[in-house]
């Protein structure tokens, strides 16, 4: 998910060329108070005009507790991005409030209710503790993201290389996402010069179980994809597992073994997931059956 400041025409007009999975236009923290209107207008016009070539679009709105949140929703539902992202979510009610507003506008303009999907960002200690209720609060929710910059400040610490200070928050957000059956997206890595540090963090969050990462610099997209793209060996192994399953099913045999090791349900699940990821990464053709 690529952050794009909503007031930068140069970046807004074609951020999809870097092929992130989602482009997220920001109306919140990267836009100064004086430019809130201009950014809202720019993002609205761009979303109505520009073909983003199949890349998912999202808009991070200002919170409903600010003077801009309501107008943002009013305009963005009409602009019709795939997703509206709610900042600094602390409780399920925050999501419901936004959802009510969205529904109101959807009704007004005759859009089928539920067209606009939601993403939430957890950026405070209270949000982290309420992650589960937040993640389960709406059918529109596609995912839950961790925003670490404000959080570490509230925790009276700072970001470190190994990310120990975020261990609890990351785990909490991830568990909440899994309980709700939605995506978990990790926070940004702000030192854009440090490629090695960034890669290390992506490997860490992938190992934790996250589905992806927010990025602030297009050069980081390729690196995330590199870590998340299954290796040839992993794909080969997964395909063999799936093949063995198919064979066993056709023979009607119950217990399945491959290379002398039993294949149980979690192994099959992981193999499926590996092939899904490989397809999404473009290294395995869509035609391959699961």
């Amino acid at each position: 998910m690529l952050y794009v400041p909503g007031n930068s025409a140069a970046m807004v007009k074609d951020a999809h060329i870097y092929r992130p999975d989602t482009v997220m236009f920001d109306l919140e923290d990267s836009v100064s108070y004086r430019e809130k209107d201009a950014a809202r207008f720019l993002v609205y016009q761009t979303l109505r005009t520009i073909d983003y070539g199949g890349v998912e679009t999202a808009v991070r709105i200002n919170g409903l507790d600010t003077p801009y949140g309501k107008d943002d929703i009013e305009a963005m539902v009409r602009a019709r991005p795939n997703i509206i992202r709610i900042p600094k979510t602390e409780k399920a009610q925050d999501v419901s409030d936004v959802e009510t507003e969205i529904e109101r506008v959807e009704r007004k303009i005759g859009l089928p209710i539920g067209t606009i999907k939601l993403f939430v960002a957890i950026e405070t200690p209270l949000g982290v503790l309420n992650a589960r209720e937040i993640a389960c609060s709406s059918n529109r929710l596609l995912g839950i993201a961790l925003g670490a910059e404000d959080l570490v400040t509230s925790l009276r610490t700072s970001r470190s290389k190994d990310g120990i200070e975020l261990y609890y928050a990351r785990s909490q957000v991830l568990y909440a996402a899994r309980v709700a059956g939605i995506n978990a997206i990790d926070t940004v890595y702000s030192n854009v010069q440090d490629e090695e540090g960034f890669l290390a963090e992506v490997r860490l969050i992938k190992q934790l179980g996250f589905d992806g990462k927010s990025v602030i610099q297009p050069n980081q997209i390729k690196l995330v994809h590199r870590v998340y793209t299954p290796t040839e060996e992993e794909i080969h192994k997964a395909l063999r597992v799936l093949e063995a399953i198919r064979e066993a099913e056709s023979k009607g045999s119950g217990v399945i073994a491959l290379d002398g090791r039993m294949i149980d349900k979690p192994v099959v699940e992981r193999a499926r997931w590996t092939i899904e990821l490989a397809k999404a990464s473009g290294v395995v053709p869509e035609e391959v059956k699961l």
Binding site: D14, I17, Y18, Q217, P218, N219
Partner: protein, 514 residues
């Protein structure tokens, strides 16, 4: 047979049937006035071409109204020589000169005054930038500037179409007899490729240096037998403007995206094979192509036979790690390239004629497989503009663009689809520098277009997973974002003629009314 006494007291014939007229010996020094007569002295004036001041050198050259003087542009934005020489010429009251520099940059703004005062009547150059370019674009000169390519200039000089009366050539190191090179001294610029042509063909050659070294200054780029006078000055350029450390690799994601796509195009094109040759321009994206090509070369164990052109630290590094066998250097872009050309015999200095003169017996652009070039505008006929900005003002240079495009097997243009609010791919470029029939592939941040003339390249790219479009489709993509720009307010007056490398006029630039 008639015999006469010669100066050695021998009887020798004046003519021999079958050979013709013969000259009797007249004394060892009679016909070679520059050879020293008094052995043992090293300070005889004839063995030392140094004159005290630039003014004396100009007077000794016999510079007069209406003559043609030349300069080189190896000091780029750091050049002091052009302005220094013009100051003195103006003070001497000489007028109506033709100034033929291999190129001019924004540091040459003071020339505006000399054009106004009639000191400079005509200009030949590869490019113009800054205030000078702005003034000329607005109609400063009565006679249009002649824009030539680097190869076209060498051709014009060698064929006599451009006859230089006096060449004023800044050199970073020089001995008292005129052996000069570009890679040593505080103003080091590396290759003197453009200056060498002037030194060979100008009627008089004045070297200007800030670094007099012991005789003989070997290896030399300009040799003593070409040089008339030498002037020593405090500084011939600003090192900051001449060359900076190692050219930094761009971090701009858009440039990197274009560069990576361009490298994929090259790899897929059929031209990427062991022993291929390559030139990449110095712009951010063009330069970054080198980095991505390097990765592919390592992966596939491919080595380049040579790299050509403006040489950068990246090329030097790839040469030193064995990926590029030879370097042919007409212009060194950074201090790493300067160091290398001084140390490495396989990093060879070439002159502009060897580089790109279309009429000599073999210029090296003809041996080039792949060139990556930038563009300000490109049109649906693949014509490229690298000289006039979207505001109609001159802000670039022809350089080796048209020379390498036609000489290479695969010419790849890299450019963002939209710059600011202006589309790069348009219906008709403002000024044609390189004709579309010599341009093969366009790579933008939104996809690739192949010149339909190159159907075999198009087929190869289509088989890959690269985003290939027609150039009309790319134009539409650009216009969807920018709309169609208003036509520029050009007047009638022609301010510059664009000469194609063969000496014909390919386009004109008109006065802009802004």
């Amino acid at each position: 047979m008639k015999l006469v006494n010669n100066a050695a007291g021998r009887k020798v014939p004046e003519t021999i049937p079958g050979i013709g007229k013969l000259e009797p010996f007249q004394g060892a020094y009679a016909r070679t006035p520059l050879v020293r007569r008094e052995k043992g002295s090293r300070t005889l004036p004839r063995l030392n071409k140094i004159v005290d001041t630039l003014e004396q050198a100009i007077l000794k050259c016999g510079l007069q109204d209406g003559m043609t003087i030349s300069f080189h542009h190896h000091f780029r934005e750091g050049d002091y020589v052009v302005n220094m020489v013009m100051d003195i010429i103006a003070n001497l009251g000489i007028k109506n000169l033709t100034l033929a520099s291999s190129s001019l940059t924004s540091c040459h703004a003071p020339l505006v005054e000399y054009i106004r005062k009639g000191v400079i009547k005509r200009i030949y150059t590869s490019g113009l930038r800054g205030v000078l370019a702005d003034e000329i674009s607005h109609g400063l000169m009565d006679t249009p500037v002649l824009i030539h390519s680097h190869g076209g200039r060498a051709r014009a000089i060698e064929t006599g179409q451009l006859s230089i009366d006096v060449a004023f050539l800044g050199v970073p190191s020089c001995d008292l007899y005129g052996n000069a090179n570009g890679f040593s001294g505080k103003s080091a610029c590396g290759s003197l490729g453009y200056a060498i042509v002037d030194a060979r063909h100008a009627k008089k050659v004045v070297l200007i240096t800030d670094n007099l070294v012991d005789y003989p200054n070997t290896p030399f780029s300009i040799d003593q037998d070409l040089v008339d006078y030498i002037v020593i000055v405090d500084a011939i350029g600003d090192p900051q403007g001449i060359a900076t450390g190692a050219t930094r690799m761009t971090r701009d994601p858009r440039e990197l995206l274009i560069a990576e796509l361009a490298s994929q195009v090259i790899v897929t094109s059929g031209y990427f094979e062991d022993g291929f040759s390559v030139q990449t321009g110095s712009g951010g994206a063009a330069l970054a192509v080198t980095r991505f090509l390097r990765e592919r070369m390592l992966e596939r164990n491919i080595k380049a036979s040579f790299a050509l052109g403006g040489i950068t630290s990246q090329i030097v590094k790839m040469h030193e790690e064995g990926l590029i066998k030879r370097i042919l250097d007409v212009q060194s872009f950074d201090l790493e390239a300067v160091r290398s050309i001084g140390e490495n015999r396989y990093h060879t200095e070439i002159d502009a004629s060897y580089y790109a003169n279309p009429l000599n017996k073999g210029c090296v652009v003809n041996k080039l497989n792949v060139v990556v070039l930038s563009a300000m505008e490109i049109d649906t006929e693949f014509n490229v503009n690298v000289i006039t900005g979207s505001d109609g003002i001159i802000r670039g240079a022809s350089g080796g663009h048209s020379d390498t495009a036609i000489g290479s097997g695969l010419s790849v243009i890299v450019a963002p689809l939209v710059r600011g609010r202006t589309p790069t791919v348009i219906d008709k470029v403002t000024t044609i520098i390189t004709p579309g029939e010599t341009v093969d592939v366009l790579v933008t941040d939104h996809g690739v277009a192949v010149n339909p003339r190159r159907s075999e390249v198009l087929e190869k790219l289509k088989l890959s997973r690269l985003p290939v479009y027609t150039i009309e489709e790319l134009k539409k993509k650009a216009e969807k974002v920018t709309g169609t720009p208003e036509p520029l307010p050009f007047g009638k007056k022609i301010v510059a003629l664009v000469e194609y490398r063969d000496g014909t006029i390919i386009d004109v630039i008109r006065e802009i009314h802004t």
